[in-house]
Assembly symmetry: C2
């Protein structure tokens, strides 16, 4: 398959083929789509040296290009990661088929029968960075939901992705489905991205999985709908009535359990009446876990000299730039607020409507927070880390949407579908 990326890419022809193959997928049986997913799992579980060699080539290329260690790590395959991909395919195969569901049916007074029927979106395009597991995840979700998909991964994963997409296409063909439904853009020519984003007549949804740079480019150029997601400036507000002993491990979990992901905590807001009790203990707990903390003046004033000395470099005064920022690392800002209103106003101003929560034992405060904060996931007494398709019961996810149209929060199989109205009559005419 290595020769693929030396050919000139006709991205329009590729999209036409993927779209037409996607239509066949949309009309295929659940059994055939699941067989393709099991086939991918099987092939991955028994993969030969070609995958490891391709990945080694990518890692060598990435090392030479001097990419960041975090990216390099994400590029590197190992047995555990491969097993995760195998399990992921089997999990998606085990999920219920989202297609064909008929819902909101009703009969009109004139006897016409209306219902909505769930159908695939059509053709997806995904732009993503290095992680090879994304290739398999998205391929599996697209197949199960009956969508065609064109993928463009990072340059530093190209050889790995060529092998992986080859496996997906083999499994599709073996299940009697059109291999063209899942396609990889094997050219690293940057001019292809604007071309892709202009094909609104062929592509129904673009899913950019990357940082603000990629999202900005897509916002500027995409003529079709886009599922933006993943940027989460997440807040927890510790209300006056919160159980402080239980709040500290929860905040620790939200910050440290997976600091590099979008639902990790960025800012803690603390009600003034509990600041003196909470903040010193919180600083001890989090700095022990290696978290660098940025405290506003009122938070800092709750600490004695010994605590400040103990925290050392891990403690700093907060400035404006420490609020409304997605740290994606072991950093956290803290701010004292005088009222629930002030906390709500801060989150409305600085948040990204991803995952925000209140810690409180007051039902009134909880309900006000749930009403007035309008985040994709709005929490009472939970770690922000729970925002996840698997946890929410949607199965695997393609993205966590932070926009308001179509789907908010985790986007799983059902969020890759839409509906059509099917209407049956008896030669009805409109009076």
């Amino acid at each position: 398959m290595g020769e693929m990326n030396t050919r000139e890419i006709d991205i329009r022809a590729m999209a036409l083929a993927a779209r037409s193959a996607g239509r066949a997928l949309a009309l295929s049986t659940t059994a055939a789509r699941n067989a393709a997913l099991q086939g991918i799992a099987e092939r991955l579980a028994n993969v030969g040296p070609e995958l490891w060699e391709a990945n080694q080539a990518d890692v060598a290329y990435a090392t030479e290009a001097g990419i960041a260690p975090a990216l390099l790590d994400r590029t590197t395959l190992n047995v555990k990661r491969l097993q995760g991909m195998v399990d992921g395919c089997r999990d998606v195969a085990a999920l219920p088929d989202p297609l064909g569901e008929v819902f909101e049916g009703h009969t009109l007074a004139n006897g016409m029968v209306l219902a909505k029927k769930r159908v695939p979106l059509g053709l997806l395009a995904t732009l993503f960075e290095s992680r090879p597991n994304v290739t398999i995840d998205i391929g599996a979700l697209a197949i199960k939901s009956g969508n065609g998909v064109i993928m463009r991964g990072g340059k530093e994963s190209l050889q790995t992705n060529i092998v992986l997409v080859g496996i997906v296409q083999e499994a599709l063909a073996a299940a009697g489905l059109p291999a063209d439904a899942v396609q990889l853009v094997t050219s690293t020519d940057r001019a292809l991205v604007p071309q892709l984003l202009a094909m609104d007549d062929l592509i129904d949804l673009v899913i950019p999985r990357g940082g603000p740079g990629l999202q900005g480019l897509v916002k500027q150029l995409a003529r079709m709908p886009v599922a933006y997601g993943g940027i989460g400036v997440c807040h927890l507000f510790v209300d006056a009535s919160a159980d402080l002993d239980r709040s500290i491990p929860l905040i620790n979990n939200a910050k440290t359990q997976a600091p590099s992901v979008c639902n990790a905590l960025d800012t803690v807001l603390v009600h003034r009446s509990v600041a003196g009790d909470l903040i010193p203990a919180l600083v001890t707990d989090l700095t022990s876990a290696g978290v660098k903390m940025y405290l506003d003046e009122a938070s800092m004033a709750t600490l004695d000299a010994i605590s400040i000395a103990d925290a050392g470099d891990l403690l700093a005064s907060a400035t404006a730039e420490h609020y409304g920022v997605e740290f994606l690392s072991l950093q956290l800002s803290v701010k004292v607020v005088s009222t629930l209103d002030e906390a709500i106003a801060h989150i409305q101003r600085h948040g990204t409507n991803h995952s925000d929560g209140i810690l409180t034992d007051s039902v009134a405060s909880a309900e006000r927070f749930l009403n007035e904060i309008d985040s994709a996931a709005t929490y009472v007494n939970c770690s922000t880390r729970f925002t996840d398709g698997g946890v929410f019961g949607l199965g695997a996810e393609v993205a966590i949407s932070t926009q308001r149209m179509h789907a908010r929060g985790p986007m799983g199989l059902r969020e890759l579908t839409t509906y059509k109205w099917i209407v049956r009559g008896d030669y009805h005419i409109r009076p």
Copy 2:
């Protein structure tokens, strides 16, 4: 209010105010929002000469500018149209409140309780042509669904719209709601449209109600989600087993009942086996109703010389340009096809996925058509004219969406909302 349009417009400040007012609307009671709608109805029912004077000024301006008669007619208010607007507000007030609905709730194994809660989209922007009733329709739907809205109507309706939006704002204030939630762009400066379409940080959805020119501009410039709609190239396929006697009045209805709207029929496909029986009768029926018909060769061959002579100028040979076109007038193209597959392929190639149907007495053909045609409204044995929010039971509509994300077909109150996940726990942490 006439002086409004002499001020310089700060469209960003306007959007900020509308967004913030929309938030208050989102948190308001159903009773307050309904009171505002009843207030608009009341004020319109008792409106003084200022509305008629403003509309006369618009009509005079439009006449002088030499706009098309159809546009001029749409601009002109009369008592019947005003009564329609009054009734429209009362109808929307009577619809159930879409906000606050809690759905798809479930409890996780760890005891956390999740549900989706229905919330407004946020701030809408609508760009539309002349009809003043659109101003009231959209204002009413936005208020009921808790959304702020910025409207920009046609230049030829400006004075009328200033009076109408003034009435909406008065009614909002009288109901204790922020008047800023519904705003009219009173400047006709074209540069404001690109400015508006770049404000993706403030505007959650753009609804362009206009022709392909407006939609193309929005597609190119809008950085936020857009509800495209209204362009319908609609097909009916008369299958071999159709009841021909009942098909003719149905086709007549689909074509002639309201020829200028998007769900009006554009092309009839006829199965070869019934072409000889159907087409001569269809030509007689439709040309009698003043429909200009474009027939392909096979269709023309079904007619005798007398029929052709009778039809006169209303009959012409079809060329490629008569298929895949939205006529919006008393014109119709006809084509003979040999199979259901050929009909499906024609619709997939030439349709806009708006409203397409089959006329058949065969369950197998009906089911295949319903499966393989993927239009927002896919019909069996119904006129395409039924695609309408009121008919479908959604209440009034802001648009008929022809895109796939979020909502397809008629967009009513619920389609102007989204959801957030609300999650209640007991200091849960993610293991």
